[in-house]
């Protein structure tokens, strides 16, 4: 008698959420097993990788990034370039400069940029806000209207603005919405319940449960990921079965391993390599913990993570 391995898929299943349209559309989630547990059941949709295009990308001074985007002047230029990158599944537009406490760029300018990108590329778009709850609510409302029909994911609705964001992004314009909370399974679930209360279809929700650069309290992010995924699969908790997207780029490029110059920290070696290492290590940890998609900045990180996923699936 031959050996038949015992498989253990869960009864709970992660929602499959489609982003984008046409043949470049992607699906995240949909599995009923732990990350990369292909021996328990087939994982139909491999984890996806997005490339960050920031509206302040012209300030990026890492040589690899400068070289890669050489000649690009607009977000659309950069997005076109990034779209061609092997391993890039979607483009994440990061509107850092909309922050009223920063450059405070107008909603109209941001919308125009997003529109230009949407016209230029075919791959799905994810929009990252500036983290100011009021500005984001306004930005997402206008942008979701302008990008109607593109099936864009807006990251993210928070406790403070979920009503406006949920209503405009999903109910009015049929796009997808992120639900952002800070490293707490209960807060994540509460926001999902409130979005549901707004009549937002759970299949239109992707979670940002908070992450951290490795070494910066990452154990909180790790345990939150673990618990949410187990609640979704093991306990079939429908309020936690949304796929998870980790905005790795936002966390890793601001820590001192990525920012300290070689003059200041000669013992640490090349700054760019450090930053890539942080990005790859964090993304790999997120994916093995349960994230269904990661957003990365550096082309080298994208390549490494693409290889990582391909070898495990």
């Amino acid at each position: 008698m031959s050996f038949v391995p015992k498989t253990a898929p869960f009864s709970g299943k992660i929602n499959a959420v489609t982003l984008g349209t046409g043949d470049k559309a992607i699906v995240i989630g949909g599995q009923n097993v732990l990350p990369f547990y292909t021996f328990d059941a087939a994982i139909e949709n491999a984890p996806k990788v997005g490339v960050e295009i920031s509206d302040v990308a012209d300030t990026w001074d890492v040589p690899g990034l400068v070289d890669f985007y050489a000649g690009c002047t607009t977000m659309a230029d950069r997005a076109k370039k990034a779209e061609e990158l092997p391993g890039c599944d979607f483009i994440a537009l990061n509107f850092v400069s909309a922050d009223p406490n920063g450059a405070n760029r107008s909603v109209e300018e941001c919308v125009a940029d997003a529109k230009a990108v949407a016209d230029a590329i075919a791959k799905p778009i994810v929009v990252l806000g500036c983290k100011n709850v009021e500005k984001d609510a306004d930005l997402f409302t206008k942008m979701s209207e302008a990008l109607a029909g593109k099936n864009v994911l807006f990251m993210s609705a928070k406790n403070e603005n979920y009503k406006t964001v949920g209503a405009s992004v999903v109910l009015a314009n049929g796009q997808k919405v992120g639900a952002e909370t800070a490293d707490d399974i209960n807060l994540a679930k509460q926001l999902n319940i409130m979005l549901k209360g707004l009549n937002v279809n759970p299949e239109a929700v992707v979670m940002d449960i908070g992450t951290a650069a490795v070494g910066y309290g990452y154990e909180y992010a790790a345990s939150t990921l673990d618990r949410i995924r187990l609640a979704a699969l093991q306990q079939s908790d429908a309020d936690l079965q949304m796929p998870i997207m980790a905005l790795v780029c936002n966390d890793v490029w601001g820590v001192k391993e990525s920012t300290a110059s070689e003059e200041d920290e000669p013992a640490w070696g090349c700054r760019e390599e450090r930053a890539i290492s942080m990005e790859v290590a964090t993304a790999a940890a997120d994916l093995t913990g349960g994230a269904d998609a990661v957003v990365l900045r550096h082309p080298a990180s994208v390549a490494a993570i693409q290889k990582f996923i391909a070898e495990l699936i």
Partner: protein
């Protein structure tokens, strides 16, 4: 020196001279003018409002006083410095907390019935209501030139014969009055004292008609003090009374009090506030009502939380507040009324219901004794709702207890229009789900207009707002209507009474910040229950009875409390309100040696679960800070109708 006149609404004015720069609230305390200041003068609660009538005060602006009110003279007394002569008006509501606070002090027939049934339950559990205190009338032959036995031997012989004891102890305090009492009563007197094995300790001598011996049971709460006098022979209640805890002016919660007692001379101040200012007047009053002499009080029992116990006996309470939170004592024997200068027989023992942790005190052991969960096979949950929520779970085989900090929300603190349950407090609310019109029940005489909202009212409002779909599970307003208003920061509030409808001319409403504060308070209570149950691997359906105790309990609507996820979702019939169980327990201990011994046993057998160091507590707390709960399956009967 500046002179300040406090014009107190409904009372005589008080005048005091002071130094320029003195804080107005502290000055009021010095002048014994009662101004309710739950936050102890931090400027955070906004309850110490007074109105400047004449003169000037240097004032720090406060978010609790708007420009219009400031123009008309309203100030927070804690934010004011005296700069010269002035007259301030102290509104009735600022001092009402002390005189008309609604407390569970056995003044209503329902409370008395609850009290009786608790005593009966103890009897059924085999607690014999007997004590060792006796009053015996003895008659002695008068001495003559032939019968030369001294007074003390004469008394000893008589008592030995009357009570069949080997020894009789006559302490100094009794000895000094022996000669005169004997002669005034022609050698027929009543001896009151305690049987200690084969020895009788004489504690008091009186005329032969005065044979009443009295026990005094005291519940010292952080906010209120209640007391009963009982006949130690028959168990009959002789008198009962209550008042606000005089320590309130040193802060609303135990932490503020501990900080105050740590200051120079603070221990003495706080002990005086509780004994001299609070307990002594009540005891004197009750003795007058019962027509007994204070020296006939032969035994006292105090049930109080750990901090109150420390402040009562004048022992440093600082360790209660500091890690690792070890109090100076759990139980204490051999304390007498004389030690504490209480108006009672100086030899009278003062029993202290034992503490079992820094935040689970004698009020809980006494309460658990009274609830009787120690004698049942079924699992019971005992909840004492107050500034601190204390919880006991178990049965005859084991008992666990824990405490959580619910904050002052149940007593109206931390709530913009919150108040304690005195006249004018909204104590119950229903809301029409279609029109969103509220119907209020108000403490006080019929026709009383609302002044603010107390704990039970807040539970009702939030439950009703949630049921009617006016707020969402996070407590944010999601329905619009006439009653739902928003301020410039877009913060929503629900108007219970407009400025015209209220007693004070200020709108009475509950806003999103209030609701958030309250959700935290209820979350603290439920997560403590949840954590304790899971610590013993049990679930709410294993609970047979839920005993709810505490001052706010009498008015609390259990269905609404379940609806908002504060109390576990079990059949409403399982809920039993047991009133001031701490006082009931203290009464049993005074009356019965067996009950006192049982209380010590209950205390010793109770396991204390320290929640602050429990790994799952924070998580359970966040999960419970949602209406009704993040895990809705825990509250199947909670409904949102709209």
């Amino acid at each position: 020196m500046p002179k300040v006149i406090f014009q107190i609404e409904g009372a005589t004015s008080v005048e005091i001279t002071c130094q320029a720069g003195d804080n107005l609230l502290e000055l009021a305390r010095r002048a014994n003018v009662a101004i309710d200041a739950p936050c102890s003068g931090n400027g955070s609660c906004g309850k110490c409002r007074v109105k400047l009538l004449e003169g000037e005060l240097e004032t720090i602006p406060s978010r609790h006083i708007n420009d219009e009110e400031f123009e008309t003279g309203w100030r927070l007394s804690c934010n004011c410095k005296v700069v010269g002569d002035c007259t301030v008006f102290v509104p009735d509501i600022a001092s009402a907390y002390q005189s008309r606070m609604k407390t569970a002090d056995l003044s209503s027939p329902q409370e008395l019935a609850i009290f009786e049934s608790c005593q009966n339950r103890l009897r059924e559990s085999g607690i014999v209501f007997e004590n060792s205190f006796r009053a015996v009338v003895v008659e002695m032959a008068e001495p003559t030139l032939d019968d030369t036995m001294p007074d003390n031997e004469r008394l000893t012989w008589a008592v030995q014969e009357a009570l069949d004891v080997a020894n009789v102890k006559i302490p100094f305090g009794v000895m000094v009055k022996l000669a005169s009492v004997l002669r005034e009563n022609n050698f027929r007197i009543c001896v009151k004292g305690e049987l200690q094995g084969d020895t009788f300790l004489c504690m008091e001598l009186s005329n032969p008609d005065d044979t009443t011996i009295v026990g005094c049971a005291i519940d010292i709460g952080t906010t209120t003090v209640t007391m009963v006098l009982t006949d130690l022979t028959t168990g009959k209640l002789l008198a009962k009374g209550s008042s606000g805890n005089g320590q309130i002016r040193f802060g609303a919660d135990v932490i503020n009090r501990i900080i105050q007692q740590g200051k120079d001379g603070g221990k003495k101040k706080l002990q005086d506030a509780i004994i001299k200012e609070t307990l002594n007047p009540i005891i004197v009053n009750l003795c007058k009502t019962a027509d007994i002499s204070a020296r006939s009080i032969l035994r006292l029992c105090v049930a109080a939380n750990t901090t109150m116990n420390h402040l009562f006996v004048g022992v440093d309470a600082e360790p209660v507040r500091m890690e690792p939170y070890i109090p100076s004592f759990f139980g204490w024997e051999d304390l007498t009324a004389g030690d504490l200068k209480l108006p009672a027989n100086p030899l009278a023992p003062v029993l202290i219901a034992p503490n079992i942790g820094s935040y689970v005190g004698g009020d809980i052991t006494a309460g658990a004794l009274a609830a009787g969960l120690w004698d049942r096979d079924e699992m019971s949950l005992f909840i004492d709702l107050g500034t601190n929520g204390e919880i006991v779970f178990g049965n005859r085989d084991f008992m666990m207890s824990c405490a959580c900090s619910a904050g002052p929300a149940f007593e109206g603190g931390d709530i913009s229009c919150g108040m304690r349950a005195t006249d004018g407090a909204v104590e119950a609310v229903t809301i029409d789900k279609h029109t969103m019109e509220p119907t209020l029940t108000i403490v006080g005489e019929p026709g009383q207009k609302p002044v603010g909202i107390c704990g039970s009212g807040i539970i009702d409002v939030i439950s009703e707002l949630f049921r009617c779909g006016i707020i969402n599970a996070k407590g944010l307003f999601v329905r619009e209507g006439e009653r739902v208003l928003r301020d410039t920061h877009n913060m929503g509030r629900f108007v219970l009474a407009t400025a015209q409808e209220s007693e004070t001319g200020r709108e009475i409403s509950i806003n999103e910040v209030d609701i958030d504060n309250f959700i935290r308070a209820k979350g603290a209570i439920f997560s403590a229950i949840d954590t304790m149950l899971s610590a013993v691997d049990m679930t709410v359906d294993m609970i047979d009875t839920v005993y709810v105790a505490g001052g706010i309990g009498s008015g609390i609507n259990m269905k609404n409390s379940v609806n908002i996820g504060m109390l576990p979702d079990v059949e409403l019939e399982k809920y039993q309100y047991i009133g001031n169980s701490s006082l009931t327990g203290a009464y049993a201990m005074v009356m019965s040696d067996a009950a006192a011994a049982k209380c010590a046993e209950v205390g010793a057998n109770m396991t204390y679960l320290e929640l602050s160091t429990h790994p799952g507590y924070m998580d359970a707390f966040v999960a419970a800070c949602f209406l009704p709960h993040t895990d809705a399956s825990l509250f199947p009967s909670s409904v949102q109708e709209m």
